[in-house]
């Protein structure tokens, strides 16, 4: 007698908890050949609202941690990802229909990118900051600081690499994120949430919504408490009007990217979500 399979219901990740959608909706995740794979929560605008509240509450703790500390916490996540490698490979094989070796190289690439960004946490200020030239006996220093809550539309045609490439750079500077995962391939995102929940990342720093980006994105774009909007995975949406909505509250916006080079690791993705603070200080008491 064959054993009955126990399909998993993938829930949202908001404020360090795994709630169902406030709306009670779920949608079916299909495998590459169109068969049933799992149920995932279909987030509503109110879930997005709750996620922004959770993200806002987490900003001060995460952005005030030292860069060194953030780097350690992010590196720890990469360690945990490595330990769950097999689970991620299984999910990618099931949902994308690729071979285990292809899935394995995707997971490796995602972990490597995560580590690459983790290393920047205590270094990007040295590169992006500056001691400005002045004609007086004082220092004038510009330093980049986290902008606050970043809403991200994750790449829609990638399970793990796209998600990691969009989320990791925003975290480096001390931002907190609300990310809408790939609608068709959300399993890796929620599994990553399970990694985050058991790591040292404070609750609310990463909030993950699954469901329809077309439904949720306009609410995030117009939300006055969101400071920046990464539209990297929004090429299939009406992203022009999302940009217009975001402009109402002067959000920083990154445009959609597509193709194999989408969201390649770069320092620019880190500094995109920072604000520059310039301060002066006397050189001496002479």
């Amino acid at each position: 007698m064959s054993r009955l399979a126990v399909p998993k219901t993938y829930k949202l990740y908001i404020g360090g908890k795994f709630p169902r959608s406030e709306s009670g909706r779920v949608y079916e995740i299909l495998d590459a050949s169109g068969g049933f794979l799992a149920n995932a929560a279909q987030a509503s605008r109110k879930d997005a609202r709750d996620a922004v509240v959770a993200a806002r509450n987490a900003v001060s703790g995460w952005s005030n941690a030292t860069g060194y500390n953030r780097g350690q916490v992010l590196y720890r996540i990469a360690e945990l990802l490595e330990g769950r490698r097999a689970q991620f490979i299984d999910e990618i094989v099931a949902s994308e229909g690729v071979s285990p070796s292809v899935a394995g190289s995707q997971v490796d690439e995602a972990i490597d990118r995560w580590i690459w960004y983790a290393g920047w946490a205590d270094k990007y200020t040295q590169v992006a900051g500056n001691a400005n030239a002045v004609s007086g006996p004082y220092f004038n220093i510009s330093v980049p600081e986290a902008t606050g809550v970043v809403a991200i539309i994750a790449p829609q045609d990638s399970s793990l690499i796209g998600f990691v490439s969009a989320v990791a750079p925003a975290l480096v500077a001390g931002n907190t994120v609300v990310v809408v995962a790939s609608q068709r391939l959300p399993l890796s995102a929620i599994s990553l949430a399970e990694v985050l929940a058991t790591s040292d990342v404070p609750g609310g720093v990463v909030n993950i919504l699954t469901g329809s980006p077309a439904e949720i994105a306009p609410w995030l774009a117009s939300h006055a408490d969101v400071n920046a909007l990464d539209l990297v995975g929004a090429s299939d949406l009406d992203w022009i009007s999302l940009q217009i909505a975001a402009a109402e509250t002067l959000m920083r916006v990154l445009p959609p990217e597509s193709g194999p080079d989408a969201a390649l690791p770069s320092l620019a993705r880190i500094t995109a979500f920072t604000e520059t603070k310039t301060v002066w200080h006397t050189k001496s008491l002479i």
């Binding site: 806002r56 117009s222 006055a224 408490d225 969101v226 109402e248 509250t249």
Partner: protein, 347 residues
């Protein structure tokens, strides 16, 4: 108890439904008012079905209030707020900014109603009165009241003379409303007469030189009364002694206002209205921080005491952070998108 104080006839009454302080007790209890008769009366009040109370409160909290009803409710909540600052670190400057916020809650939308009152410590009353200027008092168009906490708030641990001086001082400085605390120690040890006498005496201290009275809100501090039966008894006691309002908490003790406790107090107020035709106010205070919670209270008031209670004379919220959340919800309804803390003033 000193009956000559309790039954003192009082004719110089101008404000509202105010009657001479203890005449309520004399009328309801009948005969001579003594510690014993008071105790017998309060002991005779039936106990509270806590499970039923919780179920009823939970049920009242599940109503769906949307769109135009929500817009109405949000505006009504603002006009029922006692905007409060009760910190040891309060300064005249802090009170001035509180008053400014009470007068203009949302600088981006001047159609936003004003709060009912600002609630401060007694020594800050002159600062509040000065900051309000021509808008001081509910009888002025667009005016708001000044409420002062008195009687050794929040503990109430001082001699009666100090409590009365505290009260008279605030009234003389221009306070329109006095929030007094009952002596929970006396109440819990069964000295109801002492609590009664104090409320009567404080009510007398609320008398202004022109013979009118400042509104007296009696804080029961339900978080320290331990049982719902005690809350019900203390509510009756406060009303019998002449309180114009019964208020749940100081906000300094957890738990502060909860929906079941407020429901229970509203039921007492409703019963008192049925008994005597007189309307007593209720003020939940402390712990109400979101519009969603506040709307639950509005529903509870409307379905328990009646919709006519939803006016500043009969219902208040004691709150500070609630106002900002209501303003955010108001902005969301007006603009169609979610607002953020950057769009309201920091208290």
């Amino acid at each position: 108890m000193t009956t000559e104080q309790a039954v003192r006839p009082d004719s110089a009454v101008t404000k509202d439904h105010a009657v001479s302080p203890a005449s309520r007790a004399v009328e309801v209890l009948g005969g001579e008012l003594t510690e014993q008769s008071l105790k017998r009366y309060l002991a005779g009040i039936p106990g509270v079905d806590a499970v039923g109370l919780h179920a009823r409160a939970a049920d009242l909290g599940s109503r769906s209030i949307k769109t135009t009803s929500k817009a109405w409710a949000l505006d009504r909540i603002i006009s029922l707020i006692d905007l409060t600052t009760l910190e040891g670190a309060d300064t005249p400057g802090k009170v001035r900014s509180l008053v400014a916020k009470g007068l203009t809650p949302d600088a981006g939308d001047l159609s936003c109603p004003r709060v009912a009152a600002v609630c401060v410590y007694g020594d800050m009353v002159p600062a509040a009165v000065e900051a309000l200027g021509v808008f001081h008092g509910e009888n002025v168009e667009g005016g708001i009241n000044v409420a002062a906490v008195a009687t050794a708030f929040p503990s109430g641990r001082a001699s009666l003379a100090v409590k009365l001086a505290d009260t008279a001082d605030a009234v003389a400085a221009g306070a329109d409303e006095i929030d007094m605390v009952i002596d929970r120690g006396a109440f819990l040890s069964g000295r109801y007469g002492q609590v009664f006498d104090e409320i009567v005496a404080v009510k007398e201290a609320c008398r202004r030189v022109d013979g009118s009275y400042a509104h007296l809100k009696v804080i029961l501090e339900t978080g320290e009364l331990n049982t719902y039966d005690n809350v019900r008894r203390a509510s009756w006691l406060a009303i019998l002694a002449g309180g114009d309002f019964i208020k749940t908490s100081t906000g300094k003790v957890a738990p502060a206002a909860t929906l079941p406790v407020t429901l229970l107090m509203l039921e007492v107020v409703r019963d008192w209205h049925r008994l005597t035709g007189e309307k007593i106010g209720v003020k939940p205070a402390g712990g109400i921080r979101t519009s969603k919670d506040a709307i639950k209270y509005l529903v509870t008031v409307a379905e328990t005491a009646g919709e006519e209670w939803l006016q500043p004379h009969l219902f208040r919220f004691g709150a500070s952070s609630l106002l900002n959340d209501v303003l955010l919800q108001r902005q969301k309804l007006a603009s169609g998108h979610y607002s953020g803390a950057d769009y309201v003033t920091i208290d």
